[in-house]
């Protein structure tokens, strides 16, 4: 077995979860010490994660949801009791992440076309998975909240489940930064929950790994075709 093969095998064993004791501790140390090893573990996790689709579903009893709602309500009250801390507390951010994740999933499910099957000759129609991004504020501002964006290749539209605060007399402009590392304008964001149609060359720039960024520009958008204002929020597109 070569060194590379051995490394790949240990990375896979760790991702699969078969190691224990010293072997597991050694592998965990390698994740911290060796970036190549860490990337391989991550890649294996992504491979194995595909098997989750085959896992049979089961319905929990309805008590679980009721219990959870009571528990999160109680922790929310505890946070609200301390006014000085509440605006800076990680709690506010953490609730935003639950919202964001729900929004990402709901948008992606709404966009995902059903697989249609014809009666005479069953044909699985190829589907294009939507791309989603969590657009997060660049500044640590308690009023700015992350929001979800989802791209539907079928309609060529990006839908947003939120937006940014725009000062009066200014506009929020959306950009894509892809493989060429240059920002390309996708148009203006017309308030919260807006949609932006993608056309022309930009269609090829909307891929997994591309960055979406929002800047504040003069009313009507950047006059130069390049961003002139600060980036207030950004996120990376990913397959769901």
């Amino acid at each position: 077995m070569t060194t590379a093969e051995d490394r790949a095998a240990v990375a896979a064993e760790l991702a699969l979860g078969v190691l224990e004791g010293d072997e597991r501790a050694d592998a965990m140390r390698r994740v911290l010490a060796e970036p190549t090893f860490a990337r391989e573990v991550e890649a294996w996790r992504a491979h194995f994660a595909l098997l989750f689709a085959a896992w049979p579903d089961a319905a929990p009893s309805s008590d679980v949801e009721a219990r959870l709602v009571r528990l999160i309500d109680r922790s929310g009250e505890a946070a609200a009791n301390d006014d000085a801390v509440v605006r800076r507390s990680p709690w506010m951010w953490s609730t935003g992440v639950a919202t964001l994740m729900a929004a990402c999933l709901v948008l992606a499910l709404a966009l995902r076309p059903e697989r249609t099957v014809t009666v005479a000759a069953p044909v699985t129609v190829a589907t294009t998975a939507p791309l989603v991004a969590a657009i997060t504020p660049t500044k640590d501002d308690a009023d700015a909240k992350p929001f979800a964006a989802a791209y539907d290749a079928k309609t060529g539209e990006i839908r947003f489940a939120g937006g940014v605060t725009v000062p009066t007399g200014r506009s929020a402009e959306l950009w894509v930064i892809g493989a060429d590392a240059a920002p390309h304008s996708l148009g203006l964001l017309a308030g919260p929950a807006s949609r932006v149609s993608i056309g022309g060359r930009n269609l090829r720039r909307i891929t997994a790994g591309a960055t979406l960024a929002v800047t504040i520009e003069p009313e009507g958008g950047s006059p130069s075709g390049l961003p002139t204002g600060p980036v207030v929020a950004s996120g990376t597109l990913a397959k769901v």
């Binding site: 224990e20 996790r45 595909l50 989750f52 896992w55 929990p60 999933l105 990913a238 397959k239």
Partner: protein, 172 residues
């Protein structure tokens, strides 16, 4: 800023979309409903508190949630010292049947490739890898379940994983 009520309703939406998948994972690994429900509750509290450190753009939300559920269920079983139960449905027989909306999000072209590559492995290799994943077993537990020496089990799994990698890396 979103109000607490908005956050709570988004959280419930997330729960309703994903709880059947996550509970299926907890139930299979824990082997009993009560424990599986306790673990499921823990999993959603972790998600709510973001203790798991989700990084948008890095992993898909649903695989991140499923990974937390699987790890928590395995932690529970090991902490309790509960011996893994032999499930009625053998890990080797789990196949994608009727797909829910969440499953369709997970199933992609890559998914077909993974299944093709798994199918190309020898039976003992494939079965050991699938059982390790679906039942959350360590080498020692796998060896005991299959009644083979630990060294034999390790060699099956390792050789299987290396062949799996060659197959997944092969672009043709």
């Amino acid at each position: 800023m979103a109000t607490a009520a908005e956050d709570r309703s988004a959280f419930r939406r997330l729960y309703r979309l994903t709880s059947a998948k996550l509970f299926g994972i907890c139930l299979r690994i824990c082997g009993e409903r009560q424990a599986a429900e306790d673990v499921l509750q823990d999993v959603y509290l972790i998600i709510w508190r973001r203790a798991g450190g989700y990084e948008p753009g890095r992993a898909s939300p649903i695989s991140w949630l499923a990974t937390i559920a699987r790890n928590r269920a395995i932690d529970w079983r090991r902490a309790k010292g509960v011996r893994p139960t032999s499930n009625i449905v053998d890990a080797n027989d789990i196949a994608s049947g009727d797909m829910s909306a969440i499953d369709r999000l997970l199933a992609e072209e890559d998914d077909r490739k993974l299944h093709l590559c798994l199918d190309s492995l020898d039976d003992p290799q494939r079965q050991a890898i699938r059982t390790a994943f679906f039942d959350g077993l360590t080498y020692a537990e796998l060896a005991q379940r299959q009644n083979v020496p630990l060294g034999t089990m390790k060699s099956w799994v390792r050789r299987g994983l290396i062949r799996l990698k060659d197959c997944l890396d092969d672009d043709s």
